[in-house]
Amino acid sequence: MTARRVLYVSGVLVLCAWVLVPIYLIALGGLGGRLGVFRWPKEFLPTGASVDAMLTFLQIEGVWNAAKNSVIAAGLTMVFSVVLGAPAGYALARFAFRGQDAYRLLVLLTRAFPLAILALPLTVTFIRVGLYDTPLGVALVHTALALPFAVLVSASLFMGIPREYEEAAWVFGCSGPGAFLRIVLPLALPGLAATCIFAFVISWNEVFAASLLTVRERTLTAYLLAVLAESPPHFRYAGGLLLVVPSVVFIFAVRKYLFSLWGITNR
């Protein structure tokens, strides 16, 4: 029994290390400076690390702009996908209506396609209508990525809020929208916020569409791919670190909801 226990605990620890060590190492790479990249053999302790490399990186023109664009695009994605997705989720959760199954299918269908690819034809259109090279344009494509999740997740969120709450509110004097605002929304809010953050992460991490749709107003990922590809490795590692840190924080923020988010999108 003890031997098994040891095996189990060490298995858990190994898996934790498996996740954390690469993150630690990219941090070392990003903080190690230009020459740290060439050091051989490598140090596993942050002896040569300094914040200077990171600071230099942050002072590079374009990095902040790219980070800003990423935040704008991800923020807009978050707003769009919830504003468009939550009402649809509510409709799926509360009404039986004709075409419901067809709609569900449309939403599910989007998941069977690598949507980022669709940025390709959109570049041409975006150039024509002036959305090319804007965070807004990127956000629109990213919303197509995040929307199916927002719809399905919010549908299950609303399904999890008993209809009786709403009915009670109507009986006790609320109008339809009133009941939604006073009862349903406050109860769904934490879950919706988690959905928001998830949409944010989807956009924040997406590379392909963002690279195709921007030239000057790069998002951070596109900037890393296109511009930093021509830079020394330690800048690329610093950029990678800059991408990773918010993700770790976001996942921490939504960790409670991750499972309910994914559990229900199953069925």
Binding site: E164, E167, A168, W170, V171, G173, C174, S175
Partner: protein, 350 residues
């Protein structure tokens, strides 16, 4: 205070008819229970009255006012839900005061009304708690207090006790009765539990398959079920129905001849378990005992007679092992007669 008039309400879901031209009048101040098995349409009817569901046709009047096309909030009623629907993100006080606040009452009025309702339901110590910190019974009280706080013209209750455990249910039942009597509100109470209906209601409306089959005071309902269904549904154990053939005012169960003041031909003799006297007389109707269940106050005997299951009551100390043949005699004045085809009660001959 107001009365409720339900006028030929029809509700169809697609081709399925849930309610067939239901009529019901509940006078002001009455406590009426809607009793029936699940799927009989009682909850649908209640929800139509509340305005949570739209009737296919028919009208609902409350206090003489036609509310058929009004949203729930304009119908001046209150409701207690099966799962209480106590808002989890509001304190007990906020929950109780919800309807008043929606109505736009000022803070002092709300506070006073909340205090009164909470006092009535003994929830005063819990006013600042959130529902997650309350027991099921306490949430139930909050739901009732919330409904009473608005001093509604009409109170609708949808199986409010069904989620409580047996002991608590008994306790709440008594309390509910007392509270509602004091309030004097016209109350429509949906339940599938006949003891609850019997214990609480002034009158009971029994529903079956989208229709009200009988409305009566509890005792009358028990004594004189108008259909086989009512007799079977109301009362524990259900009424016995023994098929006999009536001829000239008499019918034979084995060697026993019983008075049958009905039309000639095959009929069902409806008689309750407590109205069968068990005896070892030779002339009695034979009953083959299959199972006996000691109920404390008496012994419930289940056996077979005339090809059907018959239940009877014996004294608690009776010695009736399974497999023993015994005889029974129905008390004639307690018997009701039914048509075996339609299940409707038959006219008694004088």
């Amino acid at each position: 205070m107001a009365d409720i008039q339900i006028d030929r309400i029809v509700k169809a879901f697609g081709t399925v008819v849930a309610l067939e031209e239901v009529r019901l009048d509940v006078p002001d101040g009455e406590f009426l229970a809607l009793l029936g098995p699940s799927g009989c349409g009682k909850t649908t009817l209640l929800r139509i009255i509340a305005g949570l569901e739209t009737q296919t046709s028919g009208r609902v009047r409350i206090g003489g006012r036609d509310v058929s096309d009004l949203p729930p909030r304009r119908r001046a009623l209150a409701m207690v839900f099966q799962n209480y629907a106590v808002f989890p993100h509001m304190t007990v006080a906020e929950n109780i005061g919800f309807g008043l606040r929606m109505r736009g009452d000022d803070a002092a009025t709300v506070r006073a009304a909340v205090g009164r309702a909470a006092e009535l339901l003994k929830m005063t110590p819990y006013l600042d708690r959130y529902p997650s910190k309350l027991s099921g019974g306490q949430r139930q009280r909050v739901a009732v207090a919330r409904a009473l706080a608005v001093e509604p013209a009409v109170l609708l209750m949808d199986e409010p006790l069904s989620n409580l455990d047996a002991l608590l249910r008994l306790e709440m039942r008594a309390e509910l009765k007392a509270v509602l009597r004091e309030a004097g509100t016209t109350t429509l109470y949906v339940t599938h539990d006949q003891t609850e209906a019997m214990g609480l209601a002034d009158r009971i409306a029994v529903m079956e398959k989208g229709r009200i089959v009988q409305i009566d005071r509890p005792a009358a309902l028990y004594r004189h079920p108008r259909t086989r269904f009512v007799g079977g549904f109301v009362g524990t154990p259900p009424m016995n129905f023994i098929p006999v053939v009536a001829a000239g005012g008499r019918a034979m169960i084995g060697p026993l001849a019983v008075q049958a003041p009905v039309r000639d031909g095959p009929v069902l003799m409806g008689v309750r378990a407590e109205d069968l006297d068990l005896t070892d007389d030779d002339g009695a109707a034979p009953l083959m005992v299959r199972v006996t269940e000691p109920m404390g106050s008496h012994l419930l005997v289940t056996g077979e007679a005339a090809g059907v299951t018959v239940r009877a009551m014996a004294p608690a100390d009776a010695d009736l092992p399974a497999g023993r043949p015994v005889g029974f005699r129905p008390r004639p004045e307690r018997v009701v007669w039914m048509d075996p085809e339609s299940g409707q009660a038959l006219e008694m001959r004088a």
